[in-house]
Structures are given as structure tokens and as C-alpha cells.
């Protein structure tokens, strides 16, 4: 952890971001030893992203292994101009985790999750609360609170369920266009709140 974040602002990743980006860029040079600090910095991102979708520690560990090896293999594709190393790894991990959710192997677990998400309003609320608890203290938590309840629900169910728009619509018993616009509007608000705007 860097010591540079002494300005009176919420904890941000800016100080360490550049370092991690540089580490990832450097390991594209082909030296396996240079990957160790990358793993230490970004393994928790891959594992956290996988765990958020899969909920099963064993599956999340498998996905993390696949993702981190992929990160090593494809390090030359990382383009810091398009986003941080953290976002890149989170994107890769989420995609693999979602693929796994949607694949046959994870079918049983998915049925369980669908049951979790489908059962009733109060259980969905539990999911939402669980998410908010996990995000305690983070910038995104504050921003999520700025969403309307319906936006929040749609975004959270899509994110943590690893569900498609269509599946979210079924879960929430809402029309597909409604779900699409709630998620779009929700992510737009989060984008503005999190100040990730570029250009």
C-alpha cells in the first residue's frame, strides 16, 4: 500500500494505480519473475470479481488461476490509455466468471443462485443489502445510495447474478426495455458519481 494518499479525500487508488499499471506493462517483457508483484497486486481483484459472481470459493479460485495466467499471457494487450490494470483484470475475471455461470458445469450452482434471486422480494433485498455491506466504506457504496431503488435493484441483480438483461427482466418481472433503461440510467449515474469520465 502506498503512503502517498495523505490529501484529505476519500481513499482512492490513484497513487498505486500508476504503479500497478507500470508493473503490468513491465511484465509484458517476458520475464516470469516480473509477474510476481503483478499477481500480488491484482490477484485479489481477480478473486474478488470472481467471487462476487460465482460465490463459491473453489470456483472463484479456479477462475482466478485462469484469469491471472491469461493476464500474464496477454499482458502486451493491456493498454493503460483505455483503463487501469485493475479495471482490465476485473473485466477479464468477470467475463470468465459469467461464462462459467452460464456454462453447463456451473449449472447446479446457477440454479441455486436463480432460486436465491427469484424467490421473493425480501430475499432480493437481502442480496442488495449483502452487496451494500460488502462495499462498506467504498466510493461505490456512496454512489449506489444515489440511485433510485429500482435502478439499484436492476444494477445489483445484473452484476451479482451474472444475468443477462432478459434474465434480469424475468427475475424482476419487469419488461425488457424497462430493465435496459434502468441499468443504463443506473450506470450513467454511477459513472458521473464515481467521476470516471474521460475526455
Amino acid at each position: 500500500m502506498g503512503q502517498t494518499g495523505s490529501v484529505a479525500s476519500p481513499p482512492v487508488r490513484t497513487s498505486s494505480r500508476d504503479t500497478i499499471d507500470a508493473l503490468l506493462t513491465a511484465c509484458a517483457g517476458g520475464d516470469p519473475a516480473s509477474f510476481t508483484p503483478v499477481y500480488d497486486a491484482l490477484g485479489p481483484v481477480a478473486y474478488g470479481a470472481s467471487l462476487g459472481v460465482l460465490r463459491d470459493p473453489d470456483h472463484a479460485a479456479e477462475v482466478t488461476q485462469e484469469v491471472m495466467v491469461e493476464v500474464w499471457q496477454t499482458a502486451s494487450r493491456f493498454d493503460a490509455a483505455r483503463g487501469s490494470a485493475r479495471t482490465w483484470v476485473a473485466t477479464l475475471a468477470r467475463r470468465r466468471a459469467v461464462d462459467r455461470v452460464r456454462s453447463e458445469q456451473a449449472h447446479r450452482d446457477r440454479d441455486q443462485r436463480e432460486t436465491d434471486l427469484r424467490t421473493n422480494e425480501s430475499e432480493r433485498d437481502v442480496v442488495v443489502e449483502d452487496v451494500e455491506r460488502r462495499l462498506e466504506g467504498s466510493a461505490v457504496r456512496r454512489c449506489i445510495e444515489g440511485l433510485t431503488p429500482t435502478q439499484r435493484e436492476a444494477v445489483v441483480v445484473a452484476y451479482y447474478g451474472g444475468l443477462t438483461y432478459r434474465e434480469v427482466a424475468e427475475r424482476l418481472d419487469k419488461a425488457l426495455p424497462t430493465v435496459k433503461s434502468r441499468i443504463r440510467d443506473g450506470l450513467n449515474r454511477l459513472r458521473d458519481c464515481l467521476e470516471v469520465r474521460r475526455g
Partner: protein, 257 residues
């Protein structure tokens, strides 16, 4: 506050509205294809996607992976060669690579008309594949059956078809087409000069082509699974070793009908 609605269909404004869903991996195949076309064409869309990805990544609560994983990953890394990214740099666009057979499975959806040969294939592909071809390649089908689960699913698709053809300069190529997935195989391909590479292309219904990455040749054989691409066929050309965004030479094989 009333929810806004979007009209169905693929008009550009609607596709922009799908970017958040793309960042969330929440789109079905049709919508994802539409977004990938938009991303290929529009730098502003790519920037918007990058922002949405930051938003989605901000949801991640970092968690320490099991301690045992570290040694496993580092050992695997030590024995795994890196992919040399030979095409335009990009972040995480495109489908998840299914394996290491192809240098770049990420969709680089630069398009260009490739001329009449490909246009003819596209036109011919509108006609059903003759049954005789499908029958002749039963052996091939059996061999493919041993491959990954996705290939099994492709083979289980009653509408799947295998197309084959001779490669100019030597060798033979085939492609198994099922829905939006294509499994390309080639064998007997001659080695190229070190500064050249075989590049695989997806041929689309309008006659345009887009890169499906460079082929990694092992003993003259190459295999590539390309998923989620609405192609009507595939083609291979010899390109500079760094690959090309668009074909720079005539195809050595076109598989489409």
C-alpha cells in the same frame, strides 16, 4: 420517474444504450454482436465502454485469494509463453479466448470489402450447403467430436455444417459452422517465411471480412475456435507476421459453400 423505453431493433442509438449491458456481460449474442460492430467503428463508443468498465470494476470488493493459489499461478506462468500481441492494441474487447491456438481471438472488427471472390462466397452461402458435402465429412465430424464441450454443442446443432476446401500452395482446410460459432481447422499447410503468418478471416453476409486472428502452426496444422461471430464463411490469407487489420493479399482458401 417513468422509465424510458427504447425501440426494438438495431438502430445506432439503441446500440449505444446497450454499452452498459456489454460492460456487465449482460447481453445476449445478438446484442453483443451489435455492440462489437459499434465499438469497431466508433472511438467514442470505445471511450464510453471504458468508462462503464471502470464503473463495473468499482463494484469489485478485492479479496485475498487462497494462499495456495499463488504458487500454482506463478508455476504455471513460469512455463507458459506469452502471447505476442501482433494486432492493434485493445483492452478486453471481444470474446473470451478459448485457448492458445490463436494469437488473437479478440474481435478486431475492422472491415473491408475483399473483392469478388469473397462476395461470391457470401452470395453462395445464402444457399443451403448441399447434403453430399455434409455426408462426405462424417469422418471429420467424428474427429471433431472429441474436442471441447463447445464443439460438441456445435455438432449437436442440427443446422451445423462442415465446409472444406484445398489451400492454395498446399494443405486442406475445413470449418465447422454452427450458429455464430465457427471451428476452423487446417492441415498440411506449408511453413511460411519467418516474416509471414497465416491470418484467419470471418466472411460476413455482406461480403465484408474481419480478422479472426493469426493462426499458430504446429506441424502444418492449425485450429481456431471463433465464437459469437455472425459469419457465413472463413478465409485465410498470408499476411506480414504482425498480422493485418485488413487482408493485404488474395486468400489462399475461402470456405463458404
Amino acid at each position: 420517474m417513468a422509465d424510458e423505453t427504447t425501440s426494438p431493433g438495431g438502430v445506432p442509438g439503441d446500440v449505444w444504450d446497450l454499452l452498459p449491458g456489454y460492460a456487465l456481460d449482460a447481453l445476449d449474442d445478438t446484442d453483443r454482436e451489435a455492440v462489437e460492430r459499434l465499438l469497431a467503428a466508433d472511438v467514442d463508443a470505445r471511450r464510453a465502454l471504458d468508462e462503464y468498465r471502470d464503473v463495473v470494476a468499482s463494484f469489485v470488493v478485492e479479496a485475498e485469494p487462497p494462499a495456495a493459489l499463488r504458487a500454482g499461478v506463478l508455476a504455471q506462468v513460469a512455463s507458459t509463453p506469452q502471447v505476442r500481441d501482433l494486432t492493434v492494441p485493445a483492452s478486453a474487447d471481444g470474446p473470451t479466448p478459448g485457448g492458445g491456438a490463436v494469437v488473437d481471438l479478440a474481435a478486431r472488427r475492422r472491415r473491408r470489402r475483399w473483392g469478388t471472390a469473397v462476395a461470391a462466397v457470401a452470395a453462395a452461402a445464402a444457399i443451403a450447403v448441399p447434403t453430399t458435402i455434409a455426408v462426405q465429412v462424417t469422418a471429420e465430424r467424428d474427429r471433431l467430436r472429441e474436442q471441447a464441450q463447445v464443439v460438441s454443442e456445435m455438432l449437436a446443432d442440427p443446422d451445423s455444417a462442415i465446409l472444406r476446401g484445398a489451400v492454395e500452395g498446399g494443405g486442406e482446410a475445413s470449418v465447422l459452422v454452427a450458429g455464430d460459432d465457427m471451428l476452423f481447422r487446417a492441415e498440411g499447410l506449408p511453413e511460411l517465411d519467418p516474416d509471414q503468418a497465416y491470418q484467419l478471416w470471418v466472411v460476413e453476409g455482406d461480403g465484408s471480412v474481419s480478422s479472426a486472428g493469426l493462426l499458430a502452426l504446429h506441424d502444418g496444422q492449425a485450429t481456431s475456435l471463433v465464437r459469437g461471430r455472425e459469419g457465413v464463411g472463413m478465409a485465410v490469407s498470408v499476411e506480414p507476421e504482425s498480422g493485418s487489420e485488413q487482408p493485404t493479399s488474395a486468400p489462399v482458401v475461402v470456405l463458404g459453400a
